[in-house]
């Protein structure tokens, strides 16, 4: 059995480690490229959302490398991801691509089913398998930690691209790491290198929060490398979606002390109910970012994504109440780079002006106070 899985950002590092940990032979699909997208688009229905198309491309490319079993997540609820595995299975069969599929449904709904599937895949004694899974978890945490450092440094580094080069190398090393000690060493090494990078002096850095559907947020192929683009424009990107947090929220029930979304607390009164996918979290995170002084929020979603459309429709209210501009971008295979770049530049320009004006107002206000103008004595 040679297992493969769909790509989503750096998820492959984590999944590869976990699956190898339980004794499976793993075929990592080639990195997502235009070719992946073209393959997927050719065989998927046009109105399907983008993740389905890219996933399909991943499977077809992995088949070329000899994979015969797919491990992927399913879902319940209003989001279409629940259908994905089934639709993909049919498409693959139609085009004569033989695959076995092991679909994991959410553990909070189908716990015994999940156990059975793990039992089916597991090739090692339980303790050993568990060690592999723990290692995967540690890698997820290390990656997400480093990525946050990258998000912080991108707008500040004097030579764009340097911090990404460090991160890419660390990523490759982490993928190969076999012990906790090694992971720690790689992280320390990457941090040391990042600390030596030359920085801009006196550049105004804006802070923009990214919310939205998890796949479009985490996969740079489909969001056209939006975080890098924003970094070059002088924007520090923050987001609530990380692989480690997703695992913590969804698999460990938020038991570990990592920041989680908790939309039930943050999203109301704008959105009071789960709407599928990450729609609720998008609204909640936008509110959180507004409270934490972000200059703006960008919502990402694949075209026709229902949960995000629901979230989109309440964003004007969030914008009004939170005083934070929100821009929504829908992405699919038709998205043009020039159009995306123009919108990002215009959004960033707008936020710069707003920030400058607010600053002027504040300082004018301070002077007014100083001179006793506009206040009763």
């Amino acid at each position: 059995m040679k297992v493969t899985f769909p790509h989503m950002g750096h998820l492959w590092v984590v999944l590869k480690t976990a699956l190898e940990g339980i004794g499976l032979e793993v075929v990592v699909p080639p990195p997502c490229t235009r070719r992946t997208l073209e393959l997927g688009v050719r065989h998927a229905p046009e109105s399907a959302c983008l993740p389905l198309k890219v996933n399909l491309g991943n499977f077809l490319e992995a088949k070329e490398l000899g994979a015969d079993t797919i491990v992927m997540a399913g879902g319940v609820g209003p989001c279409r991801i629940g259908y994905y595995a089934q639709v993909q299975r049919e498409i693959l069969r139609d085009i004569g691509c033989e695959y076995e599929m092991v679909v994991f449904e959410p553990p909070d709904v189908h716990f015994s089913e999940v156990l059975e599937k793990v039992k089916y895949l597991n090739r090692r004694p339980w303790q050993e398998g568990l060690r592999g899974v723990m290692l995967a978890w540690q890698k997820a945490c290390a990656l997400d930690y480093l990525e946050q450092r990258v998000q912080h440094l991108r707008p500040r580094e004097a030579q764009p691209g340097r911090v990404d080069a460090v991160f890419q190398r660390a990523l490759r090393e982490l993928a190969a790491a076999a012990s906790r000690r090694e992971i720690k060493r790689i992280v320390r090494q990457a941090e040391r290198e990042m600390a030596t990078l030359p920085l801009h002096t006196g550049r105004t850095v804006l802070k923009i929060g990214i919310v939205g559907e998890i796949y479009t947020v985490l996969e740079p192929l489909v969001n056209l490398n939006i975080e890098k683009r924003l970094g070059t424009l002088g924007v520090e990107v923050v987001r609530g979606l990380f692989i480690s947090r997703w695992i913590n929220d969804n698999l460990f029930k938020g038991l570990l002390p990592l920041p989680s979304h908790d939309p039930a607390k943050t999203a109301p009164p704008f959105l009071n109910h789960f709407v599928g996918g990450h729609g609720w979290e998008s609204v909640g995170d936008a509110v959180t970012f507004a409270r934490h002084g972000c200059d703006g929020v960008i919502q990402l979603a694949p075209l026709t994504c229902m949960p995000e459309i629901v979230a989109h429709s309440v964003m004007p209210a969030v914008q009004e109440a939170g005083g934070v501009p929100v821009m929504t971008l829908y992405l699919d295979e038709q998205t043009g780079e020039a159009g995306l770049q123009t919108r990002l530049e215009a959004f960033v320009d707008m936020l710069y002006w707003k920030k400058k004006r607010d600053k002027e107002r504040r300082s004018a206000g301070a002077w007014g106070y100083f001179l006793g103008v506009g206040r009763g004595s």
Binding site: G161, P325, E345, A346, R357
Partner: protein
Amino acid sequence: MKAVYLGIDVGSVSTNVVALDEQGKVLHTVYLRTKGQPIQAIQEGLRQLLTALGKDLKVKGVGTTGSGRSLAAVMVGADVVKNEITAHAVAANFAVPGVQTVIEIGGQDSKIIILRHGIVTDFAMNTVCAAGTGSFLDQQAARLGIPIEDFGRRALEARSPVRIAGRCAVFAESDMIHKQQQGHPIEDIIAGLCEALVRNYLNNVGKGKEILPPVVFQGGVAANAGMRRAFNRALGTEVIVPEHYGVMGAFGAALLAKDMGLRESAFRGFNLTEMEFKTGGFECQGCANHCEVVELREGSRLLARWGDRCGKWSNAVAV
């Protein structure tokens, strides 16, 4: 020596060049079709500008905008490169101080920009549809055999505009043909088309944004009297069409260059109209992305490369 600021807007349909004097007054404007050849269009634009203003010019700043802004910037040596939304907002605010809403409809793009107290607070561009309003009007005028200059005026003669399905240009066209076959007068159909396009714009681009007066209507489509009237009716307020409505992007880019207050411009000189620029390209085989890398050369000298995702080629050129 006359001191001027240049603004160059290289769009998919048109390329515009504007020259301003030190007070921000427009000295000359050039409007050209890009015809898929931005380099030639930029050279021709500068040539026409020289013919109109004389050779005795001192360029104190250059700004570029539009989808071809990066190409234009490398070619002419620009001091500021700005996206078209910012450029349009700056120009509209200069032409009509205190403007609160800008409606911009060009050949391919349409946008709405909301300003409050002189700064942009919100904007949107056409997304899934509402694209190509200008091109669509052009095409319909050609199909009906009416010069585009007269097209809008004919709409004003309408007595009862026909209702046309305006969700998408393709459906609008088939509905228009249907209405023609039914025998509606052409004026009523044109007026109906204008109303449909305005509805489409307000639903797809305007989308619930607060449209407050003064409203400025700019871009090539603003020349169309039928569209102007349709907007007046739909918004219940007058839309102002500024004098240089067709070249506001270039105007804004020039204003931005002027605002920088540079001592020395990076402009490469008017002799670039005589230089030979060449673009070429290749597909990089470095990874599975197979990026299409484009090169701009002046004679044998490599000016810039772009199009690669990883920066392998674009970073290798020191501009």
